[in-house]
Structure formats: C-alpha cells, structure tokens
Symmetry: C2
Subunit: 145 residues, 2 copies
DNA sequence: ATAATAAAAGATAACAAGGTCTTTTATTCT
DNA sequence: AGAATAAAAGACCTTGTTATCTTTTATTAT
C-alpha cells in the first residue's frame, strides 16, 4: 500500500465533503462514517488532524459538523498526504538504504527517482476540486455508499 | 515504504550472496547478518523462505551456509518481491477503493496505472546479476559495511 | 559413534498501525 | 440556566509486522 489507511480515508472524506457539505450545511462524523463506510471514531481522529491544519472547518454543538471552504477545495492531494503521512516516501531509497543519492546511487536509484517524481507531480497537480469535477462529469467513480 | 522490510533485506542479501558466495564458499547467517547489519534471526527467516523457493541453496552442518546458483542470479527483482510481499501492490487502487478499474476508474486511476506499470517493468528487467555488475563497475553503491 | 557446526522450525516478544470507547469541552436551542 | 448536540481529547484495545529466542534436525569431521 502506497499510503496509510488514514491518508486514504482522508482523501475520500475530503472529496465527499467538497461534494456534499457547505458552510450552511455542515455534516457530522456519524453521517460521514455511515455514508463512506469508515469506522466512526477513527474518522473522528483524522478529521481532528485535518481541522487543526485548516483543511476542514469544524464546529461543535447542534448543527455542528464539518465543511470545506473554497480555498481548501483547491488543495492538492499531495498536501493531504503530507499532513497525515508526511512526505518521507519521496526521499526514501527504493531498497531502504540510508546512504543513497546522486553521488552514491543504489542500483535502481535513477529509475526510482523518476517514478517518485512523476507520482509527486500527479499528486501535486490534482486537487480535491478536480476529483469532485471528475466525479460530477462521470469520468471517475468513487463508490460512496 | 514501497516494500516490506523483509523484501528490502532479501534483495540486499541476494546481491551480497551473488557477489561473495559460491558453491565452494557458502556463507552462514551469522556472517551475513554482521556484514549487512541485519538482525540475525530475522535474516534467518527470510533466507528460509528464499531457500524454499529455490532462490538460494542452503546446507546445514559445518561448512554449511548459503549461496546462489547461476540461474538464481538471473532472477528479476520483481520475482523476489513476489516471493516475500506478493504482487498485491500492483493491482491495488491508489486510493484504496475496492471497485476501481478501467470501467469505473477512481480519479487518479489512469496515471497511477501507468506508474505501477513503469515500476513493474523496471523491477522485472533488473536482475540480481545486473545489480552486482553495477556495483562492480562502480556505477552503483550499496554500502555493505 | 560422537562432537561440533549450521540451518530449520516454532514459540514468543516488542512495536507500530489501525480501530474503539469514554470523558470533556464547546455550542445551540428552549 | 438547563438540556441536547456534536466535536475534541485521551485512554485503551486489537492486529499485523518486525524481531528475538529456543529447540530440533541435518551434515561434517574426528
């Protein structure tokens, strides 16, 4: 698995929020967990992290819940990965060597660097909004249920 | 991390064996663990798996130990990954969706497929012997110490 | 045969990731 | 103010991976 489960849940949750929630229509953890099929309390933890980093807006009390403001919807996927998992993956050697760099590359260094670079680019360019648009257009699917 | 620690250890151990061991000069777990800096018993387990799958030849008793025959040295990296971790990574969705395929792709499906394909190709084409050659030529490094 | 050597095998421990539960705090509505 | 709602916070449990330890089995040399 490329990313942790937490990151996967986070990305899918954000797309869900971008599509379904707004300042005037906040959505609570319970409903989200049910709709997305995620464990409720685990999702709570993830949303807590996302709220601290201002990726989502949270509010307590009746009619409380979460939503994303327009800025946040333009966040790249990679910025979400960064918040939850960190970006360690992108500077690690494919063979797990601690000393592996341009000067002393491991036997798959060069190609692996290219692979990581391409992936980084993809995840940097794609935003939550892009994903939402793809879903609306019907060119991508994400199976909430 | 792309692969498990076991797979990383396995690959590095095989390159080490390709370079240093032979039918007439078998190397034991203790020496390998020391040279490579891996936990001895953990390495033992990995070598056991590799021996079962005929990637290495093992023999007990005095002057026992491990070596690779020439066939095995031409193994691809991917075949080692397959033995230890399996190839699940290569048919999994980048977002962890269970239903994600050409018909119902997730929003990053297409590009992610390409990356996985490229990586698979790289790991399929590169053999243990290739890595050994790179190290001998001095175009790659692997920091046995 | 016996002793020494070395891998195989199995049991167990340590740790991290994933997931659950309970209590606390903040907000809203009556 | 008080009751209800909902997130925040923290403690705790479960599972899987990583690592270690001990016993058994096979081989070799004396």
């Amino acid at each position: 698995m490329l990313f942790s489960r937490s990151t996967e849940y986070a990305i899918r949750t954000l797309v869900y929020l971008a599509m379904n929630a707004s300042e005037s229509h906040r959505i609570g953890i319970k409903k989200m967990a049910k709709d997305l099929g995620f464990p409720e309390h685990f999702l709570g933890k993830i949303l807590q992290d996302l709220a601290k980093k201002r990726v989502v807006v949270s509010s307590k009390g009746p009619h409380g819940g979460f939503y994303m403001d327009d800025d946040a919807k333009n966040r790249s996927i990679i910025s979400v990965v960064e918040i939850i998992d960190g970006l360690g993956f992108f500077d690690q050697c494919g063979l797990g060597l601690c000393e592996c760099n341009e000067d002393k590359p491991c036997p798959i260094h060069k190609n692996y660097q290219i692979f990581k670079g391409d992936l980084f680019k993809l995840l940097s360019e794609k935003t939550i909004n892009d994903m939402k648009e793809d879903l609306i257009k019907g060119v991508a699917f994400m199976n909430f249920e």
